[in-house]
């Protein structure tokens, strides 16, 4: 039932660090986060890791396990063989504060750059009427637990720090799609998705969809439809003409 596993865990702060070796007990049914907690309790009390719910609902314990972005709380030890050395590192795309904890402020900044839900001014609370089928598309995106692993894996910023100012990442492009598909949102989302949030950088490799712990089809259901809407509009002669005639005041 119980065995000793070999772990390599990233330790360090202030831009420096190294992989540290640990041998640690593993029991039946445990997940990687349990093992990190056991290390804290028995061998490394100041080992830093974020976590909250331990049930895949809060998106706090994002880390890279053997190089793959994973939630520590949803990665069962039984998916590894007993003699395998398991390597745990912080997310690569964001700066490291200490050990497994990243500075994820990039994400909060991008969140703030997306204009909020904008309902028509004359609909009062309690008056909203929406069909289930019309809310389901946006509901899928609202399953997002903001683990930021999609932004972490996206090569547009994972390998290109210089793209960060111009690219909001799958998480926030999906947020824009969510609002665009909300039955009551009246703001214009399509132009800014392309011009300000870097939708054009996405070349639909679907890495974000693969790592999503909520199994949201980010690429197929949010990013591609959003790209199509942008294209339809850009090359629709009527829209083009309309834009010429009624130059928007903003």
């Amino acid at each position: 039932m119980s065995y000793k596993a070999k772990f390599k865990v990233w330790r360090g702060e202030g831009g420096e660090g190294r992989l540290e070796d640990f041998t640690v007990e593993v029991n039946e049914g445990e997940v990687v986060l349990d093992i990190i907690h056991r290390l804290q309790a028995t061998q490394a009390p100041d080992l830093a890791v974020r976590w909250n719910c331990k049930a895949g609902k809060c998106g706090s314990c994002s880390m890279e396990i053997n190089g793959k972005p994973r939630l520590g709380c949803m990665t069962r030890m039984s998916t590894f063989s007993e003699d395998e050395t398991i390597t745990v590192t912080p997310m690569r795309t964001f700066p490291v504060i200490k050990d497994l904890v990243n500075d994820v402020s990039y994400n909060y900044q991008k969140a703030r750059e997306v204009p909020s839900f904008t309902p028509p001014a004359d609909v009062r609370p309690g008056e909203f009427r929406m069909k289930q089928v019309d809310v389901e598309r946006s509901q899928e995106f609202r399953k997002c637990i903001e683990c930021f692993m999609c932004n972490n894996i996206c090569h547009v910023i994972r390998d290109h720090e210089e793209n960060k100012p111009n690219f909001s990442g799958p998480r926030f492009l999906m947020r824009i799609a969510e609002l665009d598909m909300h039955p009551y949102d009246v703001a214009d989302r399509q132009e800014t998705a392309q011009e300000e949030h870097g939708l054009g950088y996405c070349n639909i490799t679907k890495c974000c969809t693969e790592v999503c712990p909520e199994h949201i089809k980010i690429t197929d259901n949010a990013l591609i439809p959003m790209k199509e809407r942008v294209v339809d509009r850009k090359y629709d002669p009527l829209v083009w003409l309309g834009n010429k005639i009624f130059k928007r005041s903003s």
Binding site: E13, G14, N27, E28, G29, E30, V31, D34, Q40, A41, T42, P45, D46, L47, A48, V49, R50, W51, N52, C53, K54, A55, G56, K57, C58, G59, S60, M74, R76, I97, K98, D99, V101, D103, V104, Y108, A111, R112, P115, S116, F117, V123, R124, P125, G126, F128, R129, M130, K131, Q132, V135, S138, Q139, R142, K143, C144, I145, E146, L179, H182
Partner: protein, 632 residues
């Protein structure tokens, strides 16, 4: 070793501690009333424990059954709390919950819909009609994201007006408050540290709203996250406020029991609300044997009637699986003790034979996901195994119902950290609505309090110095490992002050707690001040031990069984005890408990109940008074 250079200082009108549903709603209200507002939270913004709420927010909108209204909701809430609730809070809650839910929709929340396009409502334990606004089984996530996005919307407005997103509302994430600061009797601010750097931070503020949630981390088997260390409860006590109802702890009947590492993680009550049933190892739906007298005429007596209720509520009574949580938790506990438990030490919760697989995946997606990924169990094909888990504390800071004001001027509390609203037992679904209703009220209460002040209170330097020394102490010691002390506290509370309580065991727990206090004063934290969880735990232990002592002391005094407090030696409810609240306060590190008379319900509210029902809860003296009211 410490200098003022790495201590930040900020001035605000209102400081909200906690960024779950109650904290965010309070902060939104304070900011909407023009107050400069800080939100201080231990985790990242949007990760608070509210995300784990699954079932929904109870609000008598009447979208599914038009017979529902605030009076029915009020009655259900009082029954659920076994009439120990603060009636004024229960009244405000029932009346205002619909507006608070509709408001979320205007801020972008997308609830599941009825056929005619309104917010759908689901059945839940103790609620007479389908009442819970929900999004599948991830309602808490929807709520916290909506409130988070509302905060961002306000910041965007402030950027337009003032050129600064954080001019009027700022989130201090991963920041822990360790002491409230006072000027004389009144609040003057708060002291804390940044988790990331270990540097200290001082808030100068005349009003503080506590919205820190519960105390579940004092127990081993709990549905609560690491943040639930009773911080707000302890901060309030140490600042001179009172706690009430601390003996009442809700053990949610259905937590996961296997694998061991996920023991305690919540299995939503929606499983039962949507048709799931509880069975013992003999295959029997045992809840029919556990309907208590006070609920006898409200629950089905046969499986056939219970099953018909899901489609025809007018002519059938609800199945007993939907009794209030305290009843179901005790029943499961009794079945397991009688040797009729499941192989992994719980009972069976089965929805697989009750709904088609596709329907289960649609209605309970995160439960499907959770069992599949953590336990290798396909809930569409086989039953789950579940057992009670420490979930919620009904007790908390004694507050004024209308404003959330505590006894200390400038101190407010809302949500789980406040006490009274839920009496001795909270109904499922009443928590999310509680957060919204009383979060808003506490935010408004704090704003009004600030408006009424003649001058700003001052933070005393010596209090700051004492708080700094207290926080740094564990780092300077090479003492005991804080994780071991924490584990012993959890085991003690779990084993000795759990679901069924015996006076000898509670007394033993109190002795252990006394010894733990001494050990907590000596724990050491290795490492630096930078993001050091061992140090953070060493600081949190003070709070956990203090609130655990409150729970145990109050549990020892209350000689009856009611809601979330079951005494082995006093198995029944006692009407005399219904009139008494136990009030905890602290002086010089030890907790004292005093009895206080429960305020009497307003005449028109008591008139909402039938005489027969009241006579099950009230004393003869109170009934004579009631008859007088009924006559006049």
């Amino acid at each position: 070793m410490e200098n003022s250079l790495n201590t930040e200082r900020h001035e605000y009108d209102v400081v909200v501690i906690g960024a779950g549903g109650a904290g965010l709603r309070a902060a939104i209200e304070a900011r909407q009333q023009g107050k400069r507002t800080a939100i201080v939270c231990k985790s990242l913004f949007g990760k608070a424990h509210t995300v784990m709420a699954e079932g929904g927010a109870a609000a008598a909108m009447g979208n599914v059954n038009p017979d529902d209204n605030w009076m029915v909701h009020f009655r259900d809430t009082m029954r659920g709390g076994k009439f120990l609730n603060n009636w004024r809070m229960a009244e405000l809650h029932a009346k205002e919950a619909p507006d608070r839910v509709w408001e979320l929709e205007a801020w972008g929340a997308l609830f599941d819909r009825t056929k005619d396009g309104k917010i759908s409502q689901r059945n839940f334990g103790g609620h007479e009609y389908p009442r819970l606004a929900h999004v599948g089984d991830r309602t808490g996530l929807e709520m916290i994201r909506t409130l988070q996005q509302r905060v961002v919307a306000l910041q965007q407005e402030d950027y337009e007006t003032h050129g600064d997103h954080e001019a009027y509302i700022k989130v201090f994430a991963e920041c822990t408050v360790t002491r409230l600061l006072k000027d004389g009797d009144a609040i003057s601010g708060a002291f804390g540290y940044w988790r990331e750097t270990g540097n200290f931070i001082i808030f100068d503020a005349p009003a503080v709203v506590l919205a820190t949630g519960g105390i579940g981390k004092s127990y081993v088997v709990t549905s609560n996250s690491w943040e639930y260390t009773g911080d707000g409860h302890a901060l309030a006590l140490l600042a001179g406020a009172n706690l009430i109802n601390m003996e009442f702890i809700q053990f949610h009947p259905t937590g996961m029991v296997w694998p061991p590492s996920v023991r305690g993680i919540l299995v939503t009550e929606s499983v039962r609300g949507d048709g799931g049933v509880l069975r013992n190892s003999e295959g029997k739906r045992f809840m029919f044997d556990y309907v208590p007298d006070v609920f006898k005429d409200k629950y089905a007596t046969s499986e056939e009637e219970g099953d018909r209720w899901y489609t025809d509520q007018a002519n059938n009574r609800r199945p007993p699986e939907l009794l209030p949580r305290d009843e179901v938790a005790r029943a499961i506990n009794a079945e397991v003790k009688a040797g009729r438990g499941s192989p992994q030490g719980g009972v069976f919760l089965d929805v697989s034979t009750r709904l088609p697989a596709e329907e289960i995946k649609k209605r309970l997606p995160s439960m499907y996901h959770q069992f599949k990924e953590l336990a290798d169990v396909d809930i569409t094909a086989e039953p789950m195994q579940v057992g009670p888990t420490c979930h919620y504390i009904m007790g908390g800071v004694e507050v004024e119902a209308d404003t959330g004001a505590a006894a200390v001027p400038g101190l407010f509390a809302a949500g789980e950290v406040s006490g009274g609203m839920h009496g001795s037992n909270r109904l499922g679904g009443n928590s999310l609505s509680d957060l919204l209703v009383f979060g808003r009220r506490a935010g408004a209460g704090a704003a009004a309090y600030v408006d009424g002040l003649a001058g700003r209170p001052k933070v005393a330097d010596d209090a700051v110095e004492a708080a700094r020394e207290e926080a740094l102490a564990p780092l300077g010691r090479s003492g005991e490992n804080p994780y071991e002390v924490h584990h012993e506290l959890q085991r003690t509370m779990n084993d000795l002050v759990g679901i069924i309580r015996k006076p000898g065991e509670i007394a033993e727990a109190l002795q252990v707690v006394e010894k733990l206090k001494e050990r907590v004063a000596l724990v050491g934290a290795a490492g630096s001040r930078v993001y050091n969880p061992g140090w953070h735990l060493a600081i949190d232990l003070r709070n956990m031990v203090l609130v655990s002592e409150c729970v145990a002391r109050a549990a020892l005094l209350r000689e009856e069984s009611r809601g979330g407090h079951t005494r082995d030696d006093f198995p029944g409810m006692n009407p005399e005890w219904r009139r008494k609240l136990l009030v905890c306060s602290t002086e010089g590190g030890s907790v004292s408990v005093e009895e206080k008379v429960q305020p009497r319900m307003r005449d028109e509210l008591i008139g909402l109940f039938e005489r027969d029902e009241l006579s099950k809860y009230l004393t003869d003296e109170e009934m004579t008074e009631f008859d007088g009211i009924a006559k006049s």
